[in-house]
Amino acid sequence: MITNFDDLFSIDGVQGVFHISDNGKPLVAELSPSLGGNDNECREAKAFLSEKMQWRDLAPLVDGAEEGEILFDALRIYYLRTADSIIYILMSPQCVAAMVRIACDLITTEIDKSRKTRGFGRFFKM
């Protein structure tokens, strides 16, 4: 499955993306240097989210809402639930959230489409 997150990073103010599957597998983990991000921090953040912030951990905080925002003093995190994973997008306070949401809509469509090509879809046109 190829999911292109490059479009997200082209949006001004996007500073990191983490895509974590429901079984704790980190699918994407990138952190911008503007967050002081280096390999170690990215690894630490990825490991932490995989272990402590899967969908089952976040869901009680947001009453199961499949998208929302987490507001820190110096950072905003937009999260989006897919069928079997969760995407966290780290944004500066000035980042235009609407553009991030549009980009995420395209990404989740891609994710869902690639999922449909499994099973019979690999052999038959659906």
Binding site: F48, M53, V62, A65, G68, L71, F72, D73
Partner: protein, 345 residues
């Protein structure tokens, strides 16, 4: 004079080391420890704490929330942060929240002591006056239009209060968890006092009603009324000794915090029907702490809130000031109004 230092950290071995360290300085400092911000606030209301050293990551109420509360309700008490997180953005956020200094663990003890000595030394930078006449001294402050913070110690009971002056105008007073006129009346009724004068005032807005002369007159009148009342026979029976009461009454303790928050949200949104529900959510505290931990890793600063929309198109907000608060508000309520309302709580 022995000053009381409060150290807040959920790591018991660290607290044990702190106790050992301060035993060697018991001629200058007494240390009190606790494991989270909520306990710290209760101690600040009841004891004359001169300075707080706090960790950031703690259960129940974390260091950020503690700094916020201290900035609003105990602005005269300096706070030093001692944490394992060494991120530029965390340091920046913490200093913006009013911390005096920021240390990363493991602490260099000499640096901590040096900072303690300097910070507490500044509190008496304008001088120390023993056996002072408070009324006369304050009138002098007013005449000379001084800007200062005066820490007042009741020599009979050891109780302490604080008076804030800017250009000779009394801005506010604090006694334990009380502020405003009631706190001023308490402090101004003391007879023999020691004064520590700091040549600065952190407050800029007036939180007390009336000018100094009127407040002094009111304080004396109230003191006379108390002394004439059959319930009080002498100064020693005044509940001025901190800790004597189970809790110091605040100026407006009749409305719960949640009700106040609802009113604040309604007022800042301009819509009396904007709040559908408000409740404490202590069961979310652990997960909020995990989110804060993630924020520390990426240098995001203090966690403020989570926002989402429920199936009824209402905004669900979980705020992280102290024990988590869960709000359900109308979709049009601005996030900034919500954040501001919680800060005012």
């Amino acid at each position: 004079m022995v000053r009381q230092i409060l150290v807040v950290d959920d790591n018991q071995p660290f607290l044990n080391l702190i106790h050992k360290l301060f035993t060697k300085m018991k001629d200058r400092y007494t240390v009190i420890t606790c494991i989270d911000g909520a306990e710290a606030i209760e101690i600040l209301k009841q004891r004359p704490i001169a300075l707080v050293v706090t960790d950031l990551q703690m259960p129940n109420m974390d260091g950020y929330a503690l700094l916020e509360k201290m900035r609003r309700f105990f602005p005269d008490i300096p706070a030093i942060v001692a944490t394992s997180f060494d991120k530029p953005k965390t340091r920046e956020a913490v200093m913006r929240y009013g911390a005096t200094a920021y240390f990363t663990k493991p602490l260099v003890v000499e640096e901590l002591i040096k900072t303690l000595d300097k910070t507490l030394g500044d509190q008496a930078g304008g001088g120390t006056l023993k056996h002072a006449s408070l009324e006369m001294f304050l009138q002098l402050i007013e005449m000379e239009a001084k800007t200062c913070t005066i820490r007042v110690i009741n020599e009979a009971t050891g109780a302490q209060g604080v008076l804030f002056f800017r250009e000779g105008d009394i801005l506010n007073a604090r006694y334990g968890g009380q502020t405003g006129n009631k706190a001023a009346y308490r402090v101004l009724s003391w007879e023999r006092v020691t004064l520590l004068i700091e040549n600065a005032c952190i407050l800029t807005r007036k939180g007390i009603q009336g000018e100094l002369q009127a407040i002094l007159l009111d304080a004396m009148r109230q003191k006379d009324e108390m002394e004439n009342s059959s319930d009080v026979s002498s100064n020693s029976q005044e509940a001025d000794t901190l800790g004597e009461d189970s809790a110091l009454p605040a100026d407006n303790e009749t409305v719960s915090d949640l009700e106040r928050l609802k009113e604040l949200v309604k007022s800042s949104s301009g819509n009396p029907n904007s709040v559908a529900d408000a409740s404490w959510a202590p069961e979310l505290a652990d997960k909020m702490a995990d989110l804060q931990m993630f924020g520390n890793i990426v240098g995001a600063g203090p966690l403020k809130a989570l926002f989402s929309t429920n199936e009824n198109d209402q905004r669900v907000v979980v705020m992280s000031s102290g024990p988590p608060i869960r709000l359900v508000v109308g979709a049009k309520v601005q996030k900034e109004s919500l954040i501001e309302a919680v800060l005012d709580l």
